[in-house]
């Protein structure tokens, strides 16, 4: 086995030092009835060359050559080469959680820089080192809200990503929480309905831009939650935050989201990272790792994991979360991408998405298609009515090499004819023309 160093001579010497005669004897504490005496029923080992071939064959069975207008939470943004180069540094790639800070200043400083970037983008005071993804950070936020307010109800807008809502509902019973949804009206959420629902609620979770790509009246939603004494929690897209106001600037208690847009390939859904940031009032209730600044014995600046009395390895059943392994490598990718963009690049990235998406909307309308929510301002994504079942429209468009979007009927029964179309900076005017042709073809 190429990953093992042990030779027969090593084995003999080691067994002799241990004082047993066979490797099998090392397992003598396992009761006989529980020893597995067969060969594992798995395929024979592959050499590296064979492995490469096998995986190339599997990868070839996936379709990745259609023009991608599919989004709905995961987006086809460009990942810079420097991101890959940094992630392949073995000292970062093959290290673990920095329990021993003197061995891990590189990762610790990177997480501190990541926390800073997330706080800057969201307008918050504290960020954790990452959560699993954009769905689980919503469940984490519910836990914070419950323990901060003592209330047992969570309000989620229906225009929030359906998978986020599903994960919140799956976690809620264990937290002792009830989940209430506020329906959208014409693709956006009515702040008055939020105000009503938020009475006695621990938190209101809404998405900006929402799942339909629509820009919500986010400051009004936050105000409605605050009026009712519930914590406003904004689920946001990092790529939008060069253009759109930071949730902290309009009164949100926490900001969360899926970080894939910054620095990560789509990779069939993961691994990516969820970000979670909050006002300082909630710092000691946050889940997950947090890195803090300190000094070493010589008085020099350094970084360590901090506020660990929140965490499972110290507090056990009283911890704020059970999380241990998080998504640091993917969050690092996000930091590198954001560092390459800078404030100007991030704004331009948002503007290009916005301009191309607007162009796609205009062209589709010119071709006779209707937008599902024509009155609403959107960011990089919008819903278009296809004039027939959206899955059929999708299938027809695919025949022309265009993956036209996400059929909204999967989650919203009234929108069976609508496709959610995402336009990133990677799309071109020519590709948008292809989209229009593919959707207007019948």
């Amino acid at each position: 086995m190429s990953y093992l160093s042990v030779t027969d001579a090593d084995r003999e010497a080691m067994l002799a030092a241990i004082g047993v005669s066979t490797v099998d004897e090392l397992f003598r504490d396992i009761p006989g009835g529980m020893r597995f005496r067969e060969e594992l029923a798995v395929e024979p080992a592959l050499s590296e060359a064979e492995l490469q071939r096998h995986f190339e064959e599997l990868a070839a069975k996936n379709v990745v050559d259609e023009v991608c207008f599919l989004g709905a939470g995961i987006y086809d943004h460009y990942v810079p080469a420097v991101v890959d180069a940094v992630l392949q540094r073995g000292e970062l790639l093959t290290a673990y959680t920095p329990y021993q800070p003197e061995m891990s200043q590189g990762v610790l400083q990177a997480i501190f820089e990541y926390q800073t970037a997330i706080c800057e983008l969201t307008g918050m005071d504290v960020s954790n080192a990452s959560g699993y993804d954009g769905t689980t950070v919503a469940a984490d936020a519910c836990f914070v809200a419950k323990h901060s307010t003592g209330r047992a109800k969570i309000v989620v807008t229906e225009a929030t990503n359906p998978q986020v809502r599903q994960v919140v509902k799956t976690y809620a019973p264990g937290f002792g929480l009830e989940v209430v949804e506020v329906p959208h009206e014409g693709g956006a959420t009515d702040p008055d309905r939020v105000r009503e629902a938020a009475e006695d609620a621990a938190a209101v979770i809404f998405q900006q831009p929402n799942f339909f790509g629509v820009l919500e009246a986010a400051p009004d939603l936050a105000a409605a939650a605050n009026d009712a004494g519930a914590m406003p929690i904004a689920h946001v897209d990092l790529v939008s935050l060069g253009l759109l106001e930071a949730p902290g600037a309009y009164g949100c208690a926490m900001a969360i989201g899926e970080g894939q847009s910054a620095g990560n390939a789509m990779s069939y859904g993961g691994p990516h990272y969820g970000f979670l940031a909050a006002r300082s009032d909630y710092m000691r209730r946050l889940p997950g790792r947090i890195v803090g600044e300190t000094v070493d014995a010589a008085g020099e600046r350094g970084y360590v994991l901090t506020l660990q009395t929140r965490e499972q390895h110290i507090r056990r059943e009283k911890a704020t979360s059970n999380i241990t392994t998080n998504q640091t490598l993917l969050a690092l990718a996000g930091l590198v991408h954001l560092s390459l963009l800078g404030p100007q690049g991030l704004r331009e990235l948002g503007e290009t998405c916005l301009a191309l998406a607007q162009h796609a909307k205009t062209e589709l309308q010119k071709a006779g298609l209707e937008l599902a929510f024509p009155e609403k301002a959107t960011f990089k994504e919008f819903a278009v009515r296809t004039g027939r079942n959206a899955r059929e429209a999708l299938a027809a468009a695919r025949k022309q090499g265009v993956y036209a979007g996400y059929p909204l009927g999967r989650d919203y029964p009234g929108l069976d004819d609508a496709l959610l179309v995402a336009v990133t900076e990677k799309r071109t005017v020519e590709e948008i023309a292809q989209l229009v042709e593919a959707l207007s073809w019948s």
Partner: protein
């Protein structure tokens, strides 16, 4: 070293962005939603960005750098081929919401991975969805609840039994799932204390969470009796797979009686730990729990694969999509590299640990005089008592010898614990060098304790003040304290 924000100079750009084509206007964002203050992201040219993160990497230590025997974390070699495979465009560029017909290769890979997990665990069905071991635990406990709810026993069964050696994740998961914790003691041989256990399992018990081998690196010799006690009381058994690296092809959790198992793909089946993740925590379950698994599950019909969402008894979703796919690519590659040799992998892991234990046990205290499995726990109690040198001091001094320290002060039942897990990846010479270092440090503790107390001496920083970090909390860069650093050239 400077933070990237301190290297920032207004007006610098790292990467260009495609501009809107000629003639396309950028629509106005409504004024009340528009950002007022630009975020203070770093402004550096591309070469400086790359150099910054390269510099950071030189201040870090990974398995590629050297031996990393961090107990309970299974820091094994990360094959570089796996990184190449995960980057294949057919995987990396695949959107997770593609129609199943367009993702057949990904679904086939997931299905094949599940088959290997079933072979290793001896169970009946798998969900790949949980993002890490601790989320696997929580998911498993949700399945417990769903199972008892269907039997009308949900109100009655409120308690989960956990030994005092358990990882902190176990009791934290119990709380998050709405159960109550019932702790059980460890006996003089490092097994669950069966007499204590008998008094704690009754009709209110929903189940057990157990790591076997335990965090002491010991296989529980009473496991057959434990199984009778729980299943006899109508309760379920959860296997924390953190230590599965000890028993692949040697003993299957399903055969030990467990009903749910999580597998830390990032431990047993190798992932780049990335400074704290990503991970993967699939669960394998007995048939009785299969209806409750999260959606979607991968279904096979002939040679075609699909994601099945139509599962009315499902607990729901614990993460987006079918799980962290890139983690599956790497672990499946690792498994296929070994094939049935996964058994030899576990054998060598256990051989390596016992060899080190044999070399060290005369010098450091061994709390349980037994053979170990893939890891072992020593105590620096005597060093502390006689020379004032603690487990922490030993750990810091190991850095000067070029090694990452073991896990320390865990499990909690062993004072001054040093928890050492070599994995199968290491050569005998490496194990010897590490043992030599630990033996040398024990001598230093007697002869020159100040050298040990003040370690490390060779790292980019001296010993760090963790108490200060928790007291004077600084968790992001304070731009306001460094006004000259941002928005204006240095020296201006």
């Amino acid at each position: 070293m400077e933070l990237i924000y301190e290297k920032s100079q207004a007006g610098r750009r790292g990467i260009g962005v495609p501009q809107p084509p000629d003639g396309l206007d950028v629509p106005d964002v409504p004024a009340e939603l528009r950002r007022k203050e630009p975020p203070r992201l770093p402004e550096l040219a591309e070469p400086e960005v790359l150099r910054h993160f390269t510099q950071l990497s030189t201040r870090n230590f990974g398995i590629d750098t050297g031996f990393y025997p961090l107990g309970s974390c299974t820091m094994k070699y990360n094959p570089r081929i796996n990184e190449r495979l995960v980057g294949l465009p057919g995987f990396a560029q695949l959107h997770p919401l593609m129609e199943d017909e367009a993702a057949q290769g990904a679904l086939e890979l997931e299905w094949e991975l599940e088959q290997i997990l079933l072979a290793v665990t001896g169970l009946d069905a798998v969900s790949l969805q949980p993002a890490a071991g601790s989320q696997g635990e929580l998911t498993g406990l949700m399945l417990f609840r769903a199972y008892f709810a269907e039997r009308g026993e949900d109100e009655q069964r409120t308690n989960i039994v956990i030994p005092d050696t358990a990882h902190g994740t176990n009791p934290a998961s119990v709380t998050m799932s709405g159960y109550k914790l019932t702790p059980v003691r460890t006996d003089a041989r490092g097994n669950i204390d069966v007499e204590d256990l008998r008094t704690k399992v009754d009709e209110h018990t929903a189940g057990l969470m157990l790591t076997n081998p335990s965090t002491l690196g010991l296989f529980d010799e009473n496991i057959e009796e434990i199984e009778r006690i729980f299943h006899g009381a109508g309760a379920l058994m959860y296997y924390d797979g953190a230590n599965l690296n000890a028993v692949c092809g040697i003993s299957r959790p399903g055969d030990m009686g467990f009903d749910v198992v999580h597998i830390n793909l990032h431990k047993t089946f190798s992932q780049p730990h990335g400074g704290g993740g990503p991970g993967g925590g699939p669960i394998a379950v007995r048939e009785i729990l299969e209806p409750f698994l999260p959606v979607p599950v991968v279904a096979r019909e002939g040679d075609a694969f699909r994601l099945d969402y139509d599962r009315p008894k499902s607990i729901g979703k614990v993460r987006a999509f079918s799980g962290p796919f890139g983690v599956f690519v790497r672990s499946y590659a690792f498994m296929r590299s070994y094939g049935p040799g996964l058994k030899e992998m576990s054998e060598v892991a256990v051989l390596n640990a016992n060899y080190m234990l044999a070399r060290l046990k005369g010098t450091y205290d061994l709390p349980y005089e037994r053979l170990c499995m893939h890891e072992f726990v020593l105590s620096a109690r005597t060093l502390k008592r006689e020379h004032g040198v603690s487990a922490l001091d030993v750990a810091k001094r190991l850095m000067d010898y070029g090694f990452h320290p073991p896990t320390i002060y865990f499990p909690l039942v062993v004072p001054e614990a040093l928890m050492i897990e070599p994995t199968e990846s290491e050569a005998k010479e490496t194990l010897d060098a590490f043992c030599d270092a630990l033996l040398a440090i024990a001598r230093e503790a007697a002869e020159e304790p100040d050298t040990v107390h003040s370690a490390p001496h060779s790292r980019p920083v001296k010993r760090l003040d963790e108490v200060k970090a928790a007291k004077d909390v600084v968790v992001k860069y304070r731009f306001e304290d460094h006004p000259q650093q941002v928005g204006a050239p240095k020296g201006a």
